[in-house]
Amino acid sequence: MTLWQEFSKGIVRENPVLKILLGFCPTLAVTTLVINALGMGAATTFVLVSSNLAIALVARFIPENVRIPCYIVIIATFVTVVELLIQAFSPALNAALGIYIPLIVVNCIILGRAEAFASKNPVLPSILDGLGMGLGFTFALVILASIREIFGNGTWLGFNVIGIEGFSPILFFALPPGAFLGLGLLIALVSAYQRKR
């Protein structure tokens, strides 16, 4: 597999959310607004790339039995870095994402990539794999957030996109039930498209 394929597979073909069906917790929780989805996507991508890099470097020194706790500590370290950075530079994003920033630790995508890819591959492919998976995760988040923000709030990334006089947003999409419904329909759409081909 070429390096380009390692990078691009996570974006569409093996999209972690829409195809592999991992990491639903942050996907549903932060997608009320596109800006939150971008923030969560960037934070998760940073953690994915750094933890993949670190794990690819140290994997062969870690004994088999204790590898999962070791990976979790490495991931948690980078999550703490991200948490402190967001607190320092973007208090608004920190308030919007709240508890879901430390919960990046238990995002199954990250531990999944560490175990399935970074521990068995050299550094460069691991970085590209993390970057691709992170972008795929961000991509899925932004699609779901776009649906929820446009219908639930009438805006996209803060801009008013529905110019209809007297349009009142469908609050349902901004609330938790809308998140479940939106993601359910998206995954069904992807699977219907796959069946057709």
């Binding site: 500590v73 948690a76 703490t80 948490e83 238990v106 039930p177 359910g184 329909l185 759409l189 069946r195």
Partner: protein, 192 residues
């Protein structure tokens, strides 16, 4: 006393971990296929969340706060939870084979359950005292169990339903969750 009651109602219904806070979705989608496995998983989660929240609560106020290293909270808590789940598995296996048969297979799955870390962190973030924390941990896990068992009940019916092919599996589970979440929204504003 009133605040404890508010926390309990809040934890089970108003801020249900699955439907409102979106934590612990993996077991919700993966394990809740039959009612008896849902009950087993719920009991395991109740046990681990309560124990983990209690231990992390003491670690936070006895170690992290006095030494002024609260920024280590995420790393410490996840390690404690991972170690705790392993230890509980060993202890349960030695002590009671009935309990192990009932809970054993669910325990390893619980480490990666974000509800455990989430509840432990939220109890600290909300500045709960010990009893409030305990009420919050127990009621959150009861809310988790309630959601899991309701969904397992619905899923046994779904098995015999004629669902369009692309919706089979995860999509229909999420749409059922959407309808259940709408029902749970009815409890909002019950407690502040």
């Amino acid at each position: 006393m009133n605040d404890i009651l508010a926390i309990i109602i809040g934890g089970i219904f108003v801020n249900n971990v699955i439907f409102i806070k979106f934590m612990g979705l993996c077991p919700y989608i993966g394990v809740a296929k039959r009612i008896d496995t849902a009950v087993g998983m719920s009991l395991g989660v109740l046990f681990v969340i309560t124990l983990a929240s209690t231990i992390t609560f003491f670690i936070n106020y006895a170690v992290l706060v006095p030494f002024n290293i609260e920024f280590m909270r995420t790393v410490t808590f996840i390690l404690v939870i991972a170690a705790l789940v392993q230890m509980v598995e060993l202890v349960v296996r030695k002590l009671s084979s009935t309990l192990y048969n009932a809970l054993g297979i669910y325990l390893p799955l619980i480490t990666t359950n974000c509800a455990v870390l989430g509840v432990a962190l939220l109890a600290i973030k909300n500045d709960y005292n010990f009893w409030q924390m305990l009420a919050y941990a127990v009621s959150s896990s009861l809310g988790f169990g309630l959601a899991l068992i309701i969904f397992a009940g619905i899923r046994t019916k779904l098995d015999s339903a004629d669902i369009p092919l692309p919706f089979r599996g995860v999509p229909i589970a999420l749409i059922v969750a959407s309808i259940l979440a709408m029902a749970f929204m009815g409890f909002s504003n019950m407690v502040k």
